[in-house]
């Protein structure tokens, strides 16, 4: 499987990533993103950012307010 030809999907409702290679069900609100965008989001997360949805339902990596654990 050539990873570059695989599309990824992001759902605002679940804040999760999906691919047809694995998931037979993808949430209705999911938007399609490229593998490169998906990898960039994961790399941003590894640097301490948090993956969230923007107003249009697309995933973005934002500075995380590392809330104090109670």
């Amino acid at each position: 499987m050539d990873i570059d030809k695989k599309s990824m999907y992001y759902s605002k409702a679940t804040n999760g990533f999906y691919t047809l290679e694995i998931h037979s069900f993808i949430p209705e609100d999911a938007v399609e993103i490229t593998v490169e965008q998906w990898q960039a989001l994961l790399e941003a997360q590894a640097e301490g950012k948090v993956i969230q949805s923007d107003d249009n339902g697309h995933p973005v990596a934002l500075e995380q307010n590392m809330s104090e654990a109670k």
Binding site: T14, N15, G16, Y18, Q39, G48, V50, S67
Partner: protein, 144 residues
Amino acid sequence: MTVTISGTTGITTPANTVSGSITFGDSSTQSTAPYSTAALAAQFASSLSANGYQKLPSGLIIQWGSVGYSAAPDISVTVTFPIAFTASFYVAGVLGLVTASGDGRLFGTASIGAPSTTSFSIVLRNNVNAGSSTGIIYWYAVGK
């Protein structure tokens, strides 16, 4: 053993998909089924990188990654899985690596909170002192 590949055959292009059979068990119980490399790849879907996943034919999915942090003394960090589990989260583990901190001491504990099929949180607690720390948390998660 010598393997010689000649001509234009490439096993990674769909036009040249390799077909064959895989045999399991001994001759009395063996069964054979045709598999193409594409079908096998789908059974073992994966993304192998620093933040990735590996699916097995049983449906089990193993995922892993890391998250950097710079805060303290007690914080909660949200991690979105590289891929959503299709049905269930089973277990996750976290390992902390402190790369710099006020006095060089490790934080006390790293534990897991609020696991779902799409994300979980890592809770760090500094049981040593009230100082802050900076580092990387490595994690893995298993589910299906």
